[in-house]
């Protein structure tokens, strides 16, 4: 086995960080894979106060260090791993980091967050972020240990499934506790919705960052750190820590019990999950995917993220007819259930769990995988695909599993699907375009825009294409005591808000919530904890050592929203792209959301009102020189 070190680099020791009194080192590692050159960007307090980390830092480097209009799969694109100010601190829910770059799926921003341990480990190794440019001549991986960085040969890892590659890396570096960010065959084969997997089972899933990594010939980033991520002012966080530790069992009861799979049945029953590529209002046999029947047969253990007592993650081990499923790849979350289940009219939990395992092993985004397979199923159903030896069909679990493998390997129809549903539709023609459920070319998450109309607006406006995380889910703003409602009340919004429609108040609410979500995704913390402003302000103040007010939280969130908009415009998007594809406007005739949904006109008006509230012109262009 080849274990070749190609380049080495060691950063300066950061005494303050070692003393455990700072949440940031000020060191952003820059790696040019074309030349092998490595160096450190030293950043100061102002940088972290302005951008926090995560999405803020990703946008900072994309705007400043990539040429406009660059091909997402070209060496000039950046792949950025960015924990945030709070990543790796004592705050539960801080085991997250962001990964970003230009998306090969959409041509827009790619910014995905992953849970687990990797982000905290990178900070413990002395780096606040890694900015990777260029393209290695042959496959390589990075090995980072307490400030020391090596570019190592990865020829022997190329083509391996994620878990196999991780096993080899840990064995050759002699440390089973190494944390890995890595791609599988899907990323190597430049599947436009390939994910970056972390410790094999946590994905920075959306928008094809795995393909960006593959385009750089980078198989993995392995990290190990032994430093402590401190806080500048621990006392400020005491009350928030007490609130979490004394209350999480009640506040997070849903997460402790079943995690997100607990919502599969309810979202289906309330019209929140799109079924049969948005054409049906119910899935026969949905009870087979319901948590209370699924858990006893499939879930053998629970898993968690760095310093989180909740343990919302599932571990699926299954030996049975039709499939064996390995626990090391975790288990499907709600979005995955929805995309690989109801959206494809599949009610077989074995097929859904196996397809999830394969997505983790090949490194594929489960939402875009399900969205693209469902779209392809409808194309096949309508006779729009010719000359293929295999096409998937609705309700057929085996054909879902076959599709996932073919996408990762780009075989047959899989080579078309690997381009994503929007590119496929362009190739097939008008009839196929009518079946699309995308925003800016990215497949919609499983929060049906016909039921959640603010979420629809958020899909249309998102700088990453459809996304449910930096968004407002109407159902949470409709409930009197949710974290969303409580935050909105503090912003002077008369919440709870009506469930349906796009009232002016709701568009304002969307604006405030998106700003907060940008802060969550920059800081980077888990959105499952029902943080209110006092908790967020306390956490940021404790970590940074400067006092952060609600106004400052919104100033930061707004700054990141503006940077994201500037990036979109710079990359050639216009107001015409701030919309949704046909299926978002398809009306169901029966079921819980019969006849519901925004019209195109209502959506356009919502987009214009948001621009107005942000102080942007009617093309969505922010005024110059905003800070």
């Amino acid at each position: 086995m080849m274990e070749k070190v190609l380049q080495t680099f060691e950063s300066f020791p950061v005494q303050k960080f070692l003393d455990g009194k700072s949440a940031w080192t000020g060191q952003v590692l820059k790696v040019d894979l074309s030349s092998g050159e490595m160096r450190v960007d030293r950043q100061g307090e102002d940088f972290y106060r302005r951008y926090l980390g995560g999405r803020g830092v990703i946008l900072y480097y994309l705007l400043n260090e990539t040429p406009p209009g660059v091909d997402a799969l070209a060496a000039e694109n950046l792949l950025i791993f960015a924990p945030g100010l709070l990543t790796g601190t004592v705050l539960p829910g801080s085991g997250r980091h962001a990964v970003g770059g230009k998306s090969p799926l959409t041509g827009a921003l790619a910014s995905g967050e992953a849970g687990g341990f990797w982000g905290a480990e990178l900070k413990r190794a002395g780096y606040d972020a890694i900015v990777i440019s260029g393209k290695a001549q042959t496959p390589v991986y990075l090995w980072i240990r307490d400030g020391k960085v090596e570019i190592r040969d990865a020829s022997h890892l190329w083509g391996k499934l994620t878990a196999d590659a991780q096993d080899i890396i840990r064995a050759e570096l002699g440390d089973k506790n190494i944390r890995t960010a890595l791609i599988g065959p899907a990323g190597e084969n430049l599947v436009r919705f390939a994910s970056v997997m972390h410790d094999v089972n946590r994905a920075a899933g959306r928008s094809g960052l795995g393909a960006v990594m593959g385009s750089k010939n980078l198989k993995a980033v392995a990290v190990r750190g032994s430093m402590n991520v401190g806080l500048a002012n621990k006392e400020v966080l005491d009350e928030t820590l007490k609130w979490i530790l004394s209350g999480y069992k009640t506040m997070m009861g849903w997460a402790i019990k079943y995690g997100t799979p607990g919502s599969v049945r309810y979202n289906h029953d309330s019209g929140g999950t799109a079924i049969n590529n948005y054409r049906d209002s119910a899935l026969e046999g949905i009870e087979q995917l319901e948590a209370k029947s699924y858990f006893p047969k499939f879930v053998t253990a629970r898993d968690t993220c760095y310093r989180c007592p909740v343990r919302c993650k599932t571990v699926v081990n299954y030996r049975g007819e039709g499939a064996n499923i390995e626990g090391k790849y975790g288990g499907p979350e709600y979005e995955t259930f929805g995309a690989l289940g109801p959206l494809c009219r599949i009610n077989d939990p074995v097929a859904v769990a196996k397809a999830n395992e394969l997505c983790a092993a090949y490194g594929l985004d489960t939402i875009s995988s399900g969205g693209t397979v469902a779209f392809t199923m409808e194309c096949a159903e309508k006779g729009l695909l010719h000359g293929f030896d295999f096409v998937p069909e609705f309700g057929n679990g085996a054909s879902l599993i076959e599709s996932i493998t073919r996408i990762a390997r780009r075989e047959g129809i899989g080579d078309w699907m690997a381009e994503g549903s929007a590119r496929m539709a362009q190739k097939i023609g008008k009839n196929a375009i009518e079946m699309l459920a995308v925003a800016k070319g990215q497949e919609l998450p499983l929060h049906d825009p016909r039921m959640k109309n603010a979420t629809a607006l958020g899909y249309a406006l998102s700088p990453t294409g459809a996304d449910h995380m930096h968004n407002l889910l109407d159902n949470f703003a409709n409930f009197p005591d949710s974290d969303v409602t409580n935050r909105l009340k503090e912003m002077g919004i008369d919440a709870p808000l009506p469930l349906f429609g796009l009232s002016d108040e709701k568009i304002k609410a969307y604006m405030y919530e998106v700003a907060v979500k940008h802060v969550f995704d920059s800081a980077v913390i888990c959105q499952f904890y029902p943080y209110e402003y006092r908790h967020l302000c306390a956490a940021l103040s404790a970590a940074g050592g400067w006092e952060v007010s609600i106004q400052e939280v919104h100033q930061i969130g707004r700054r990141i929203a503006i940077m994201a908009r500037q990036y979109l415009l710079r990359e050639g998007f216009t107001v015409q792209d701030d919309t949704l594809s046909a299926r978002a406007f398809y009306r169901l005739k029966d079921g819980p959301i019969a006849g519901r949904g925004l019209t195109i006109q209502e959506l356009k008006q919502g987009v214009q009102r948001y621009f107005e509230l942000m102080g942007w012109d009617d093309r969505g262009v922010p005024p110059p020189n905003i800070s």
Binding site: K292, F476, P480
Partner: protein, 76 residues
Amino acid sequence: MKEKQIKAIIQVERLPGEPRQSIEVVAGVTILEALASVGVSLQQPVVALVNGKTSDMNYVVRPGDYVVLLPQIAGG
């Protein structure tokens, strides 16, 4: 004038997978007011299905309505 109070049924599932609790409430008030009137408070966000249709939490319950409250979870 005193009329016999006309009622509706609300079924509450407090956490995913827990048995549903069936509550008889008086019509003419919102779902939340109806719950409050019988001393039920919810900690987890829910969505209301009224006679099979997804409805606002401020929906005013009508006589004979059948309301199911479904726990909601974000993200994933």
